[in-house]
């Protein structure tokens, strides 16, 4: 298991290098001089332009620039924000918890709603409720997160006034009050982000449970006298793998979707930071965030592979055999 992990991490090193190269290439090599953009077409003095040029190492060639940028990156140094001079890593770190919290809540909500929904559909296939549910899911899948956000904001925040329109709770509130306030503020963004994932997971859940419910092991388990609950535990164990694979599909969508959702709901997460940095032409932060999102997706793939090992003993033994063969 440890050998597999080490091998898996090592095998993602070339991808990591590729990610850094692509990020660097997209944001540095396109025919667009950042100084030209910042100076608004030449309002900076010659000394200021020269200073910026040396600060950004623009006088060096692309290869040298990538080398020095990459070396600094290895030390965790992403440079400084062009807006306030803070280290990019610290700027990102202050925004990251919001995005992680939002995405974690969304994943929990997606699976918490979609799996029972799929189980229900699979237990009564072809019924009117099942068909209505499937039509509803296709419709929900097609609702873009920002459209959903506006409709929900209009209904629940403006019309009914049940939930706050946007933003995050004040720091002044008490601890217990803060949790409630936080939940109230995060509810709508989480739902918006979860919408398309719901439809996807519920469809897979329905198909997976349908095939599992028809399998012999379930009849055997029930015949042996296992309770319905214990038996459904076996069903879930047998269908776990596709759900984990789906997680890898969902995460990049969530990462992209939270850019819009955070913007609409004024959450101070990395998605919003990304947009404000793009608008302010704060390239070091944009580079850092682009890199971070790709690395997070890669880490997601890694996590999925590890989860496979945890839930499926067949995969576990298969991989262990492979690693002993290689040794």
């Amino acid at each position: 298991m440890i050998a597999f992990l080490v091998r898996r991490v090592l095998s993602s090193v070339p991808t990591l290098v590729g990610i850094s190269l692509l990020t660097f290439a997209v944001l540095n090599l396109l025919p667009n001089d950042p100084i030209q953009v910042w100076s608004g077409g030449g309002y900076y003095s010659a000394e200021a332009v020269e200073h910026l040029r040396s600060e950004l190492r623009l006088q060096q060639g692309p290869a040298a620039r990538y080398a020095s940028w990459g070396l600094a990156l290895l030390r965790g140094d992403l440079g400084r924000s062009m807006r306030d001079g803070r280290p990019v890593a610290r700027v990102i770190a202050s925004a990251l918890p919001w995005t992680l919290l939002l995405n974690l809540c969304s994943v929990i909500l997606i699976y918490g709603v979609a799996v029972p929904f799929g189980l229900f559909g699979a237990s009564s296939p072809g019924s009117i409720a099942d068909r209505l549910g499937r039509a509803l899911l296709i419709l929900l899948y097609a609702v873009p997160s920002f459209a959903a956000a506006l409709l929900l904001q209009q209904w629940f925040a403006v019309r009914l006034g049940w939930l706050p329109l946007q933003g995050v709770p004040d720091r002044a509130a008490t601890a217990a009050g803060t949790t409630v306030a936080l939940a109230r503020h995060l509810l709508l963004p989480t739902v918006c982000l979860a919408l398309s994932g719901w439809a996807l997971v519920a469809r897979y859940a329905r198909a997976a449970f349908r095939s599992a419910l028809g399998r012999e092991f379930l009849a055997v388990a029930r015949a042996k006298g296992l309770s319905r609950l214990r038996a459904s535990g076996h069903v879930v164990a047998n269908t776990a793998v596709p759900f984990i694979t789906l997680l890898a599909t969902i995460v990049p969508g969530l990462a992209g979707g939270s850019v819009i959702v955070e913007q609409i709901f004024s959450l101070p997460g990395v998605g919003r930071l990304y947009l404000t940095s793009i608008e302010a032409r704060d390239y070091p932060v944009v580079v850092g965030l682009t890199l971070l999102s790709a690395v997070l997706v890669l880490a997601g793939h890694l996590l999925v592979d590890v989860l496979y090992l945890v839930v499926d003993p067949r995969i576990r033994s298969g991989l262990l055999d492979e690693s002993t063969d290689a040794a």
Binding site: T15, L22, A142, A147, P252, Y274, R281, A294, L298
Partner: protein, 326 residues
């Protein structure tokens, strides 16, 4: 074909038509008018591509907003107005935020522009970007995927690795980064940015499918008959892949439309007077507390078109429907 999927295909085709014909369907200029004794078609002149044929310098200077009475007299008279007699850019502040009514079927926005006209015009942009970006992604994905198999070896490894790297970037983030780096917003940067983040799925699929044929009967006999790499792929393998690629492409169009409306929503799309479903929604944020229609109708248009694209793609996918039919 099941009735639902027939409906879905119909909706998609109707939207394409509506997008193409938007200047004729919704315009404050007449389709047919008499200008100084000659027939003119000012609305047709705004059509894409063929519009130039109908361009008439005399009709361009007429103020069609003038009171109808003055237009009906003399040498200039309106003969036929479009079904929606408003332009997507015609600002009428005294008509601002009118709820849906007989004269404005979808109501008006905060600047008094007819929402139906804007949604119709928005369709053309969404579809242009959706189909354009998907076509570009198909081209890149197919060429790289096929090239990887035909060349093989180190080249294959490099392409596979490159696809892995690009696929790590969330599509929305990559498209935004590309447009930020380009320092430009608008339709073509958006098409390029979306295509850049969407071709990897196609490349992976094409590579996997062609790989199955390598060394097979089709491959060997085509090679034996003297077919080169390009001929082998284009003449013999492409027809086999066309149907599944069409399914992938319809999902791709739906995805590209979501990306486009998201980018436009954030202000990275076309510049203001031109509507896109995303930018109409972005403008609707300002009147969130006063009106529901500027949010509801563009959202509904998006949802219906996206759901139809997905349903149409699904019914064409090899699976239940195909099996049950044969």
């Amino acid at each position: 074909m099941r009735p639902e999927s027939r409906l879905a295909v119909f909706v998609v085709l109707a939207t394409v038509l509506a997008g193409l014909l938007a200047p004729v369907l919704a315009n404050d200029r007449p389709i047919l008018a008499r200008v100084e004794g000659r027939l003119a078609a000012p609305a047709l002149a705004e059509l894409p591509i063929v519009g130039r044929l109908f361009d008439d310098p005399g009709a361009r200077v007429v103020d069609w907003d003038a009171p109808p009475a003055s237009l009906q007299t003399g040498a200039t008279r309106v003969l036929l107005m479009p079904p929606v007699p408003y332009s997507y850019r015609g600002i009428h502040l005294d008509e601002a935020l009118r709820p849906p009514s007989r004269s404005h079927l979808m109501g008006t926005d905060a600047l008094g522009r007819d929402l139906l006209a804007r949604v119709l015009h928005g369709a053309s942009l969404s579809l242009l970007v959706g189909f354009g970006a998907t076509a570009l992604a198909l081209l890149i994905g197919f060429c790289l995927g096929a090239l990887a198999v035909v060349r093989g070896g180190l080249f294959d490894l490099l392409i596979v690795r490159f696809v892995d790297v690009v696929a790590c970037f969330p599509p929305f983030v990559l498209a935004l980064a590309f447009m930020a780096a380009l320092g430009r917003t608008g339709v073509w940067p958006m098409v390029a940015g979306i295509a850049l983040s969407r071709w990897t799925t196609i490349a992976r699929y094409v590579r996997g499918e062609i790989l199955r044929h390598r060394g097979g009967a089709l491959w060997v006999s085509a090679r034996a008959a003297g077919a080169g790499g390009v001929r082998l792929v284009v003449r013999h393998l492409l027809p086999l892949l066309a149907a599944p690629l069409a399914v992938l492409a319809s999902f791709g169009v739906a995805n590209a439309i979501v990306l486009e409306s998201g980018l436009s929503f954030l202000g990275f799309g076309v510049s203001p007077p031109t509507p896109s479903w995303g930018s109409i929604l972005a403008e609707a944020r300002g009147s969130l507390d006063a009106a529901w229609w500027p949010v509801f109708f563009p959202s509904a248009a998006l949802v219906i078109v996206l759901a139809s694209l997905c349903a149409a793609a699904e019914s064409a996918a090899p699976g239940e429907s195909r099996v049950s039919r044969s």
